[in-house]
Amino acid sequence: MTYEQLLQEIAINDQQYVVMTAENRALVRNLPKVLGDRFIDTGITEQTMMGAAAGLALRGRKPIVHALAAFLTMRAFEFTRTSIGIPHFPVKMSSFIPGFLSDGNGPTHQAVEDIAIMRGIPGMEVFAPADEDDLVKMLPAIWETENPSYVRINTTANQYKHSIFELGKAEIISEGKDATILTYGFMFENSYQAMLSLREAGFDVGLVNVRSLHPFDVEMLKALVGKTQLIVAIEDHFLTGGLFSIVAEQLVTNHWSVPVKAIALDARWFRPGRLLDVIEFEGFDVANLVTRISTLIQENQ
């Protein structure tokens, strides 16, 4: 099932859903004719779209809104924070091309601070599916709630079959004594392949698909304390405010002690280009991840 098929099915069955877009139709091309008045394209107006979403929610609708991640989060931020966050309306944000997925667009389009920004709004839920399979397993539960949410849309086709999603819960792929990789979204696949390679090379490495950044699965983290010697947070996001920060906040808050290292973008945008070239250039391809993680494990021992 694709994103669009899922959205169509849910919106047809439940009149409370309204599909909105700021002229970003890539994944909702077939919906106008199916939804009629419940499909609203406001044009290239992320601010007006988010404000209008609040107005629709005020009248009892649940808008699912679409725009490019950078503009949905940053151009419209105050509208989201003020018109949706303050009244806690169930507006469901679907952001396209987050993180590395903006490939050749350049820094204007790079949403590599979106997790930090969105989790800064009280009550906003933040999710990042690993691929299309994960996406369609996660979205029904996310859309069902009365909370505002932000989802990094990721329709990558991977082989991995994910487990059933439970709101606020991570997916534990494997456990590891030497290190446990925590990752989310598009970085899942390369992290998964790196984990397999590292295990073949004799390292006992685990992997967690975090899925839900906010609320964060604190129980999952607690279970790692004393069981793994190192946590490696891998994310196509700035070092500030993303998964590495979330893990650090939780460890400090709970007085838990585990060394944590980050493989993230340290206060800089990434070099734009073809997706695979970008990932390799930035050191997030499988071979680079294997080297970086094995080095971190050896330094930690």
């Binding site: 007006t48 404000g51 609040a54 009248r59 018109s83």
Partner: protein, 284 residues
């Protein structure tokens, strides 16, 4: 409008002003901005909007969004006079134990949306108008903007979208009191020719005296046949009703002492002109 109705509205507006003036002390309020909007709000709530005070959340009601949120004392004054808000609650102005502060919020029955950040509510009003269209409802949506607020690009973005979506049930109203926070609009970010600008954005555009109930009535009565959104530019006077502070750049946010409030109340009742010596605090 017949004379009797006009006199009734004028008397209502005076009572609203009597509610507002005492709020301009012990912390103060946006007095000038509130007084310019009184007649518009008085007209709308008494003669235009279909809102049942007993059923403020009835989904077939008309909506009023006060995007120019700092004039909320005028809205509360109207609510008190309509019997929607207990007059004693105005004594809680700026008390942390109540929700009567410098900007509107939905804790107060009758307030449709919180405001304060200029340029936010035109989009919210569009969303409500769109939702009403989905339900094939007849509710009308009025969104009140300040003229200074029109500096915000989001207002113009919303005008484009309102026109594109042909929202005939959506009415923007500009309280054109010719001042923004600290100075005359035309000295900082000129808006004129405002009528031409609004018309060029595809809005049915009207320009009237916002203190003249006959003009308000005549204009609002003819909106029903419009295809697409309308905008009524209401020329008003900042501080209207208090000649000693009218049309002054430095009488936007006001925090006077109790003696001055007494003098202003006398001035409101045309007993004698107030002699205000307090420096006005320009809050922004």
């Amino acid at each position: 409008m017949n004379t009797e109705k006009r006199i009734k509205l004028e008397s209502f507006a005076l009572q609203v002003r009597e509610r507002i003036v005492p709020l301009a002390t012990e912390g103060g309020c946006f007095l000038g901005a509130s007084l310019s909007a009184v007649d518009i709000l008085t007209y709308l709530y008494n003669s235009f909007l279909k809102i049942d005070g007993e059923h403020l959340s009835d989904e077939s009601r008309d909506y009023l969004f006060l995007s120019k949120g700092h004039d909320v004392p005028a809205l509360y004054g109207v609510f008190v006079e309509l019997g929607w808000l207990a007059p004693e609650r105005l004594k809680n102005h700026l008390s942390v134990d109540d929700h009567i502060y410098w900007h509107p919020n939905r804790h107060i029955p009758g307030v449709e949306f919180h405001a304060g950040s200029l340029g936010q509510l035109p989009a919210v009003a569009i969303g409500v108008a769109l939702e009403i269209r989905i339900r094939k409802g007849n509710n009308r949506v009025v969104c009140i903007l300040g003229d200074g607020e029109l500096n915000e690009g989001s207002c113009w973005e919303a005008f484009l979208v309102a026109h594109a979506k042909q929202l005939s049930n959506l009415i923007f109203v500009v309280d054109r009191n010719h001042f923004q926070a600290n100075m005359a609009t035309e000295e900082l970010i000129p808006l004129e020719p405002l009528h031409d600008k609004c018309r060029a954005f595809g809005l049915h555009t009207y320009r009237i005296n916002g203190h003249d109930f006959d003009q308000l009535d005549e204009t609002f009565s003819q909106l029903e046949s419009n295809q697409g959104p309308s905008i009524i530019i209401c020329d008003t006077i900042r501080g209207k009703g208090l000649p000693s502070i009218e049309a002054r750049a430095d009488r936007w946010f006001c925090n006077f002492n109790s003696q001055e409030i007494g003098e202003l109340m006398d001035e409101l009742h045309q007993i004698k002109q107030a002699d205000i010596t307090s420096q006005t605090i320009v809050a922004r």
